[in-house]
Symmetry: C2
Subunit: 418 residues, 2 copies
């Protein structure tokens, strides 16, 4: 009997993490000789710890195929980081116990840096215990901060959403600027790195002369230079769009969003960086503003996903299974860029020992010298990642996303407290 | 020589106001025997007052055709309401002077309630002065509050955007609810009426059992009942999506957004209704939240426009010209619904005397008895308006919107102070 596989989604979900799930499950189904059933963790790794497994073999081919165009995490995700082996051997032992009980020989973990680390530890432990588990990491993160891989599934679609939304809203504010709004501020995700903020820079191009000022987490915020930059843009264009990363910081290290604002009851301020930035521009320069916070909309926006991103998410899921079938272990399939134009890429194997606990930051040469924009090198990097549209099917005017049955596998072990 | 036409865009722009401009200009070009050039006001009616006219005959057929899929106001819009004839005869006289100087016999005004009123006054004045101007209003407003017409171009596309975004973000929060976010709050436009908020209710349907709680401007906010409702949803589903209209109000009439919040310098609070609602849920019920403010993104989102909306926007622009050519005056082409399923509609003529200064509110029977949702009647009304997708063309991963040349017509009159 072939071993079963365990698959789990980890951390913040994306528009395309289910496309990776689709790639994993469809590839596993093609390798019935080597892989038995694919069990998914309900709510990620918590599902493994609590033995709450979903039997994906109960889902129809059509339902699994629909994962390719369904945003979010179809099996549920979680924010739960396993501690080190030393600190929490109990949890790793439990994982092994559950894997043994359900005859699991493959561990596919779909997430970012933390889950790459967990995946790596599982493979080390399995070796140590002499219990064979092939642990393969499937890359996913809108933050685009995993090393070795050229980019991370999830990022391209957020980038496309932010680029398109910034262009559209810029056209809008341009129309209104004569008598009304001159400033549009959009807040985007990225607490540590400015990859998503950089995508706002794609709103402008050779045929779209749009003034976009970007506030990156990587660049120390200089309020006076920022005001001067915005004023110069308004003087020239009559309006200005500002893309602010949620991770943008004051020189003292506080986030821009932390304004020390209190409500009538003394509660800390409620808002994000966008209203703070919009308001400071109004105070200093007097311009009327509008602001938006994209929040979950940006990472869930499957309706405007990048086809490149969807293709890569699927391909990496599939490659994870192919690698497992070939006998690989402790690796992460990664994207290697071959050329920018035409965009060509291939999949390579990255050892988890080199992926875990390494964060890839934006190179300084991707940010313009003045710190408020992107360079041509950044554009050359980003543009291929937003190529192509991959629209979901619609019914009655709405995207027809799938909700799986998610039937539970019968438990075999005593309960476990997490 | 046929008379020229004047066309202007007014108030907040939309994803489809340019589709109406496209309808006006293409129809006018087909009626060269009756209509000379189409001059557009640069930045709306201000362009007429300052004699800043754009010669649309300088734009290629392809550029005008591209207006159909370009969001925003291609000629610029403005927030500038002409006062009554008695209060500001000077401005009306100036309009007539400019129209005479440029041999304008047709006035097409593309906007909401205020511009319908202006359009009506222009037609009355022209009659009074014996200077023949046919004034036709082209409906546009995301607020969906014009009378007689079944719905207003611009609304269907915002409705689709909000419905799709709420569904997508709900899938996202559902994935995260086990260990992280349980509440997603999205703030939508609509200061006076809850039409756009109602569209958030379309996120749920027979196949998508999503808990959506809506805060309408029409319903007095009852905080305790709201908390009970949200708690019931979280108890049942483990998560809840909240759609809050920017117009939602406390029982004393203040907007929810007005929390009396002050920053360290004593400035009034910065945020919108979404962070206020998210925070009060956290305080009362302890749930982790995320919130988004769609702002301009919702009305500029041509990438996810409703095909029905685009078709109607174009058809009303075209119908305005056809009506003018037939000799009609002081009217607004309006949409009459013939049937819901299949959705059928036709265009009728609404007299401006019955359009000006009338606001169409949401009927109470469109809001569920408990005040937090939409009824089947509301659903039957809304669903046809979001039917169909009408994607813009893309190039290099980005929508290829048009920016016109907007060449000015030579001025013939002395300057005018506004």
């Amino acid at each position: 009997m072939p071993k079963n596989a365990f698959y789990a989604q980890s951390g913040g979900v994306t528009a395309v993490i289910n496309a990776s799930a689709c790639g994993v499950i469809e590839a596993a189904r093609r390798h019935g000789d080597k892989i038995g059933k694919v069990y998914a963790g309900r709510n990620g790794i918590i599902g493994a710890l609590t033995e709450d497994l979903i039997d994906t073999s109960q889902e129809s081919e059509a339902a699994i195929a629909a994962l390719r165009y369904t945003p979010s995490g179809a099996f549920g995700s979680c924010r739960y980081k396993l501690k080190s082996l030393e600190e929490n051997k109990r949890e790793y032992d439990r994982l092994m116990e559950v894997f043994k009980a359900h005859d699991i020989g493959y561990f596919f973990y779909n997430g970012g840096g933390d889950s790459a680390d967990t995946c790596h530890k599982v493979s080390q432990l399995s070796e140590k215990l002499g219990f064979p588990i092939q642990a393969i990491h499937v890359a996913k993160t809108v933050d685009n901060d995993l090393p070795i891989t050229d980019n991370c599934p999830g990022f391209g679609s957020v980038a496309k959403y932010i680029a398109v939304s910034t262009r559209e809203a810029s056209y809008d504010v341009r129309s209104m600027a004569k008598t009304s709004t001159k400033i549009f501020v959009i807040e985007v995700m990225g607490r540590h790195a400015g990859w998503i903020a950089a995508a706002g820079g794609l709103a402008a191009d050779a045929e779209n002369d749009i003034p976009v000022v970007i506030l990156f987490p990587e660049i120390e915020f200089d309020q006076e230079r920022f005001f001067a930059r915005v004023k110069a843009m308004v003087d020239k264009y009559d309006y200005c769009s500002v893309v602010v990363s949620e991770g943008a910081k004051w020189p003292d290290g506080r986030f821009l969003a932390e304004q020390g604002t209190r409500d009538a009851f003394g509660h800390a301020q409620l808002g994000g960086a966008a209203p703070v930035v919009a308001n400071m521009i109004k105070d200093a320069l007097g311009y009327k503003y509008h602001w938006a916070v994209a929040d979950y909309m940006q990472r869930a926006a499957r309706h405007i996903a990048s086809k490149t991103d969807v293709d890569q998410a699927y391909a990496l899921g599939q490659a994870a299974v192919e690698a497992a079938v070939r006998g690989e272990n402790a690796i992460m399939p990664a994207i290697k860029r071959i050329s920018n134009d035409p965009y060509e890429w291939e999949i390579i194997s990255a050892p988890l020992s080199e992926v875990a606990n390494v964060e890839k930051m934006m190179p300084r040469e991707f940010i313009s010298e003045d710190g408020f924009g992107i360079t041509q090198a950044c554009r050359d990097y980003l543009v291929p990642l937003i190529q192509g549209e991959d629209y979901p099917p619609y019914e009655n005017g709405m995207p027809k996303y799938v909700t799986l049955k998610n039937e539970a596998v019968a438990k075999k072990l005593p309960a476990f407290e997490i």
